[in-house]
Each structure stands twice: as C-alpha cells, then as structure tokens.
C-alpha cells in the first residue's frame, strides 16, 4: 500500500519545542506531589570496607525526619543482568559513594542534616582500582558470593579473580593470517571512564501504598519498562504492583537506565506510610555514584600485507566493570565484536574480559562499547598507514566492507555505505590538503576515522495509537523523550500512517501502567523499531477508520484513503473529514478507535548467520566516518578542534534536522571526551566531582561541524531502510582528532584523554629522538 509521506523525511519542527523554550516542561527534578518528603543518602568514604555497625538513633531524632533506612531494613538486590547490587549496602561497601543509609525528612535540608548524625563503623578492606590488577589471582575479591547471585546472562567468575564475564570469538586461523602478513603491528590503547554528565542530575520520586503494597515511581529514565521489570524482580512483586511514570528526561546518553535515585527513593518510601519521597542527586553524586563509561585497556595485534590489506587481528580487551554489574557485560561483548571496525579481516581472535573493581559502577555510554574500540582500531589504522606509506583514506577504502559482505558471524550485511561515508567526510575536510598552520608554533593537521555499530537484535517494541472522536491522534509508547527528538519522530510517523496533520498528533510521556512494553531508548533502535511499530499501529487504526467510512459512505474500502484528516475516495475526492466520520460512527457522542503495533526483527531472514552466532546479527548496521581538522599549539600542547566533517550512513533520515542534532551533539561530546574529560582519583575517591574540574566542552570549544547524511535509494520505503543515529556519531570523533594531531605534529597519543601535558611531553620526546 502506498503511503502518504507528508512528514517522513521532512524537517518538521520538534513537537516538544514550546514546552522546552518556555520552561514548562516537567523533568524528573521538577516533580512535586502533595505530602512529599525529601530523601538523601549517606555514602561510603571507603572504596572497600565491611560495615561493622550503623547507629541511626540520633538521625531518627533529628528535626523533620520521618524515616531512616539501612541495607538491613531493605535487604534486596537488583540488577538487570546480574542481581549483585543492594539498594543500600548491606554488610560491605564496594566503592567510594556506595550508599549505606538513607533519610527521608520534611525538607531537603533536614534530610541532609540528619545524615550527618548517622554513625557508621567500617573495617577497611584491601581495594583494587585497576582492572588489570583486579584480574590477577590474589587480588582482593570484591564479590566473594558472586555464584549465589541471580543472573539473566551467561556470567561466571574466573575463580580466584574478579573477572566476571569473559567473551571469546575466533574466525579463520589467526596464526596463519599472521604468517601471511608482511608486517605485524602491536599497539596498546586505553580509553578512560567518563561521566554521562547529563545536565539534569539523577532524580526520582517514589510512593508506596501500604494497603496494596504497590510502588509508583516518577523516574526520568530512558527505558522505563525495563526499570519496571528490574524493580519488580528485585522486590519479588507482580508486574501490576509497579508503575513508572516518566517526566521529561534532561539527558541520558546511556546513564539513566538502571535504579539509581530510584533505589534510594523506593527503599525510603517503603517506610514513610504512603508519603512520596523525592530524591535528587547532587552533582557530586551524579558524577561519583551513578555509572560511568567502562574504562578499557585494548591490545591490538594486526597483520597486514604490503598493499595494506588485513590478514589477521588479535585483540585483547580488559574492561573495568566497577563495583556492581549494570549493563557492562553487554557493552563489553558488543565492544569486542566491533574492534575490527568496518573492515574485512579474514582471521580474528578476540578476547574480552570484564573485571570487577572498587571503582564506580560502569555501563552503557552513548556508543555502547564502540567509543572505546574505535579509538583503538582507528588509531592503529593510521599507524599502519603511516608505516606502509599508504594514505589514511586509501587504506580504509581498501579494507572497508561493501554491500553483501559477511559480518564475522556470517550474517550477510545489507545497506552498506561505509565507503561513501569515508569518501564524503574525507572530501569535506580536504584530507591531504592544507598548510602546516598559521605559525611555526601553531600547526594544523587533518585526520579521519570510521566505525561500525550494530543494534541490539532482536528487541521488541509495542505501542497503541488512538484516534479520538475529533480526529486527534494519541501515540502510547514507552519510548522516552530523552532529548533526541523521539516524540517528533513518533509523531511524524503516526501522522503519515493514520493520514492526519502533524498538529493532530500528541505523544504523551511514558507511563508503564498505560504505555506498552518497549525495550527502551538505547542502541540507536528507537527510530527503526518504535518507528515501524507506530507505523503498524497507525495503519491498523487507519484500516478500521476506512472500514467505518466504507460502511457509512456505502463504498468499497479499497477506494478510500485518509489524508490530512480527510476521507478521500478514488476518483471522487474528499468525502468527509475524520471528525465527521467519527461523529457519525459514535452517533454524535464520544468514543475512540485504537490500533495496535508490535514490531520485532526476530525471525527475519536477514539475520541468518552461522550456527550459534545469530545472537550477534544486527537488523541494521550503522557506519560513520568523521574527519577532523585541528590546530596544535606546540609550546603549550593545547589542541583546538577547528572543524569536523561527519558522514553517516543513516539509510533514511526521518527528520534530517533531528539527524543533524544527533551528529552535532555527538561531535561536541566527542571533542569533550577526547580533550577534557577524565576522573582524577585518590584511593578510589573521585577528586574532580563537580563541573569546576570535571570539564565539559562549552560553546567556546565548538568546532565547525558539517553533517553529511548518506542515504539509501529514495524509492525504498523509509522505515524499511532507516538506521539509528544516536550512538554511531559518538565513536569516530576521538580517533579522528588523534589522527589529525598526528598529521599536524607527528605524535601519537594512545591513552585518552589527549591533554596538553601529554601532547607537550610527546613533542619533547619527539624532539629528543630527532
């Protein structure tokens, strides 16, 4: 059936615009309820310690206090993959910032005051912060009871160590591949832990109703349905006893997908006799006690022929999981399986080890492992190119995947436009052109980096689309608006699928008691998965409306279509408006018509792969290339990014402006991650726990960003070929910058971030070597 495309592919204005420019959008931190109390958590000053005793007696007596809770009062464990994390520490703390007790009081100040009156007696235990040390036998064991934890993934501890998840993958014969190589390169790269640093700190309000034992949680999360399940599982409650209501989300980037402020608020709410409890993390807590990107140590050994073709790669990655398992296993596994980049490498030997440490818990961070592995893969690519005397563009084009190539599991990849992204980004930046810089101490260079990413497959999205009596359309979806334009995309697709003006569509925020299950806004999956789901539901309801219309108009439904809210008959033209149709249908009274959607790629032939490896197939493959121009101050080591050209194979842009927002945002994030961000620590304590010293790029660091959208054949249906854009854009900026620095001054930094002192030290070493 041909589809109206009034909105899909258009630069429509965002549907959340007016609430956001007027300050009326309600975020997690803005939720206020009658009788609401304020909660706060006392946190461990030690990275690893046993809790001997907690004395809360003075806190209970403190002014305004209504509840004081410790782990012993609420001894539940949560965790989506491995249930290893207490709501409040029970007998042991595992990182600086682990919550040990919580207070609910009439005001925030009273809660904070009472926290100071809690006395905790600790016995410090040996701690380990470097995953490479934590994986050794004899390291302090952080979870001696690991084997007793419930789990939903294959995770098992290597005995005597802190290695909790190991993933190995082999393809072909690596030794033979190395034997065929003309050159073998061995390099070690590292990527640092990073704070998601959402502008909205983590916040939640929880309410418990003692009579029926239900919890309602207001939580600005990117995957409310899965938090819902995580909480129900942790508390042993039925699905219907939990409800998550999602306000606007002030940024997530993978950082708001588990129970953080929610855990504290829920534990407190259990004891406040029905009064809701609001917990807003301080910035310090958001930085030090939520979750971070996984730090990764990556060793790459790559065999190459003289002409630049790869023969083999061995990769070993050690990932820092931190104190508890969030979704780091997913990140580690996906990361290691994309450390080959978008390149044909016939022989592979990949090993990933995820290791508990006494650092802050880690997990998904925009890119889901690709930001770390792309750093290594693309850094080594330029090392190889330089040694072989091949230019960075050519060596990438030589090895890049093409349409119909098999991924490492044998899945035949479709819609592969990686070469186009390399060519377009390279051309926009003018790779290989340009002068040395404006002065001998300010030198310029250009670099390129490319990447691939899969999306979690298969995952499910459900939705409902309702048409009201006046022709208004409501989309019930659990996809949160985290800022990436989810609502706008959903509204565009719904408007086209039903055949109504965009202004007639509304997309309320998720509420897990009302909006159906969705896997979550993650893995760059929403546009494709929820998009197809909404299209299905929209067409479903349109089919019903056409049936009604055919009955009323006494015509063949095949002759009818709906466009811009009008019922149109082939050859006749508009017959009636949707509003007139529904007034007739409901006899002048009110009513509603629903359409249902359920989308899953499960079972699609395109996912076929070798035996036992279908689980790493992807319903679409994302490719992106970034090219950067930088200026290096050779006296101070300061790097300024002047321009980034970012070409993305997005299949089809449902909203090109939205795609640009994602790309520009990722480039700024990439610049910030690469040049400014890292944790400074002392015995596990993060010293730079505020934005005064955990630096984010500001408007003054903004390079010129050119977004290039590489699309499929325009004849193809948009939602058949659309890919994700949220994550791939985050991975390629860092190595593109590093490669540009190499091009400018001939030094290579392999450990992120690229700080001025490292650059200056490398320049000095280079001068000594000459």
């Amino acid at each position: 059936m041909s589809q109206d495309a009034s909105y899909i592919g258009k630069r429509v204005q965002r549907v959340d615009a007016s609430v956001k420019v007027t300050g009326s959008a309600v975020y997690g931190v803005d939720v206020e309820l009658p009788g609401m109390l304020y909660g706060a958590a006392l946190r461990s000053p030690y990275a690893h310690a046993s809790i001997i005793a907690i004395d809360t007696s003075a806190a209970i007596q403190s002014t305004g206090v209504r509840a004081v809770v410790t782990g012993k009062d609420f001894p539940c464990l949560f965790g989506d993959m491995v249930r290893d994390q207490p709501f409040l520490a029970i007998d042991r703390v595992r990182f600086v910032g682990d919550p040990v007790a919580a207070v609910a009081a009439e005001t925030e100040a009273e809660a904070l005051e009472a926290l100071e009156k809690i006395r905790v007696q600790y016995e410090e235990l040996p701690a380990v912060f470097d995953p490479r040390e934590a994986m050794a036998e004899g390291a302090p064991l952080i979870h001696p009871d690991f084997e007793t934890y419930l789990r939903t993934i294959p995770a098992s501890m290597v005995p005597g160590t802190n290695i909790c998840v190991t993933r190995k993958f082999s393809l072909g014969n690596v030794e033979q591949g190395f034997a065929e190589a003309d050159e073998i390169f061995e390099d070690t790269f590292s990527a640092q832990a990073l704070s998601h640093a959402t502008m909205e700190p983590h916040a939640a309000v929880a309410q418990y109703t003692p009579l029926d034992g239900r919890y309602t949680v207001w939580s600005a999360s990117d995957r409310p349905q899965r938090l819902h399940k995580e909480l129900a599982d942790a508390l042993g409650l039925a699905h219907t006893q939990i409800r998550f209501i999602v306000p606007y989300v002030g940024g997530s980037f993978g950082g708001k997908n588990t129970l953080r402020a929610e855990a504290i608020a829920v534990a407190l709410a259990r004891f406040t006799h029905g009064r809701p409890v609001k917990v807003v993390f301080s910035r310090e807590e958001s930085i030090t006690a939520t979750q971070t990107r996984l730090a990764a140590h990556m060793k790459l050994t790559t065999g190459v022929k003289k002409d630049g073709l790869f023969t083999a790669r061995r990769a070993e990655i050690v990932w820092d999981n931190g104190a508890y398992i969030s979704n780091a296993p997913g990140v580690a596994n996906r990361g290691v399986l994309t450390i080959l980049g978008p390149y044909r490498i016939p022989n592979l030997d990949l090993v990933s080890r995820l290791v508990y440490t006494n650092n802050e818990t880690t997990g998904s961070y925009r890119g889901f492992g690709t930001t770390q592995v792309t750093w290594a893969c693309e850094g080594q690519m330029d090392i190889i190119a330089a040694k072989l005397g091949i230019d960075p563009l050519t060596i990438r084009l030589k090895n890049a995947y093409v349409e119909g190539d098999a991924y490492i599991n044998g899945q035949i990849m479709r819609d592969v436009r990686v070469k186009e992204t390399i060519e377009k980004a390279g051309a926009e930046i003018g790779l290989g052109t340009g002068g040395p810089g404006p002065s001998p101490t300010r030198r310029r260079g250009k670099g390129i980096a490319t990447m691939l990413k899969s999306t979690a497959t298969p995952t499910d999205s459900f939705c409902l689309v309702k048409v009201d009596v006046d022709g208004g359309v409501t989309v019930y979806s659990s996809s949160s608006e985290i800022g990436a334009g989810e609502k706008t995309i959903m509204a565009q697709i719904a408007a086209d699928a039903v055949g109504v003006p965009l202004a007639a569509v509304s997309v309320p925020n998720p509420d897990t008691a009302i909006t159906p299950y969705d896997h979550g806004v993650s893995s760059s999956r929403t546009t494709f998965h929820m998009g197809n789901c909404i299209q299905q539901a929209g067409r479903d309801v349109r089919g019903r409306l056409i049936q009604f219309a055919a009955g009323i108009l006494k015509t063949d439904p095949a002759r009818l279509r709906i466009s811009a809210g009008n019922i149109i008959e082939a050859g006749t033209g508009p017959r009636m408006t949707l509003k007139e149709l529904l007034a007739k249908k409901f006899n002048g009274k009110s009513g509603a018509v629903f359409g249902e959607g359920h989308f899953t790629p499960a079972g699609k032939p395109v996912l076929e792969a070798r035996e036992g490896l279908k689980g790493i197939s992807s319903i679409f493959w994302m490719f992106a290339t970034h090219a950067a121009e930088v200026e290096v101050d050779t006296e101070t080591g300061v790097v300024k990014v002047l321009k980034v050209a970012a070409a993305h194979d997005i299949g089809r842009a449902i909203n090109p402006t939205g795609c640009e927002q994602q790309i520009e945002g990722s480039v700024v994030l990439g610049v910030s991650n690469t040049l400014f961000e890292e944790f400074k620590k002392e015995r596990g304590r993060i010293l730079n726990d505020g934005f005064s010293d955990y630096k984010l790029a500001t408007m003054e660091d903004l390079p010129k960003i050119v977004s290039i959208l590489v699309e499929a054949d325009p004849d193809k249906e948009a939602l058949a070929v659309a890919k994700g854009i949220g994550e791939p854009a985050a991975a390629a900026t860092a190595p593109a910058i590093a490669n540009a620095i190499y091009n400018a001054v001939g030094i290579r930094i392999k450990d992120l971030p690229i700080t001025p002192d490292k650059v200056l030290a490398a320049l000095k070493r280079q001068a000594l070597d000459k």
Partner: protein, 155 residues
C-alpha cells in the same frame, strides 16, 4: 534566621519571608514554583540556573534570596508576553536549538541579555556570552545559529 524580602519576579511583586540561607534559585523553584529555572549543580558551574537580575544573567544558585531583595528578576517564565513568545524563544524553535531542553531556559536568557546589549553580536561574543551554560546534548551549533538569527531579527 528569617529575612523579609520584597522582590519583583517577572513583573509581579512578592513580599515574602525566607530563611537567610535560601538561595534565589531555591526561592524561585521552591517558593514561587517557577521550575523553568533548573539546578544542575548548585555550585555556579553549569549555568542551568541562570536568571536575569536587573537584566543581567547571573547564576541564581549563588545569590541569596535575601540579597536579591529590592531587585528585578526575570526567569524563562517571564519572557513570553500574552502568550507571544520572545523572539529569542521563537528563534530557538525555528533553528531547532535544543534537545533535552534542560539548559534551554538558561541559554535563552543568556542570549536575550546579550542581544539587549548588542543587537548584532559577533560569533565570538555569542560564544563567550553562552559559554557559561553547559549543554551535554551538544546543541551549540544550532544555538549559535538561533542567536545569530534572532539578532538579525530573522524569523
């Protein structure tokens, strides 16, 4: 210790008693329920709490409500007049200059203050004026375009 204040917020006069330690930000959000002004750090680093104090952008988390007594405060809620958006707000919409929206009120107020002072600012002036507000979504390039367009009076 309670302090009496007499303050104008968005053109309305308020006479209230506040605790001395109440910041202007807490007063706006907690007492007046003007939650468009955000608290992203409370330490003057993120800029999401920016309001206009006698027309100048300031971090309201670092101003005591008592200290703001007798002065005029404009928050994001006070920009639109009779339901008509301020040109900077309109320009942010037209240029898609926001994503999650959490920093948007502060960005808009900072831009308004700049344009009131310099109707056609240079790119560098815009970057400096808005450099005090962090935006993790990275909407900067579109925000820059929105402020430039608003300055030129473009629709």
């Amino acid at each position: 210790m309670k302090v009496s204040i007499d303050i104008h917020v968005n053109g309305e006069r308020y006479q209230k008693e506040v605790e001395a330690q109440t910041t202007l930000l807490e007063f706006l959000r907690g007492t007046l329920h003007l939650t468009g002004t955000k608290e992203g750090c409370g330490l003057g680093d993120c800029g999401t709490c920016i309001v206009l104090l006698d027309g100048k952008p300031v971090n309201s988390c670092l101003v005591l409500a008592a200290d703001a007594g007798g002065r005029k405060v404009t928050t994001i809620e006070g920009l639109a007049v009779d339901g008509k958006l301020h040109p900077v707000q309109q320009s942010f919409i037209d240029n898609s200059a926001f994503q999650c929206g959490f920093c948007t009120p502060a960005m808009i107020l900072s831009a308004k203050a700049l344009l009131d002072k310099r109707p056609e600012p240079t790119e560098q002036e815009i970057k400096q004026a808005l450099g005090g507000v962090l935006c993790r979504c990275g909407s900067h390039q579109k925000i820059l375009a929105a402020v430039q367009a608003a300055g030129k009076g473009e629709k």
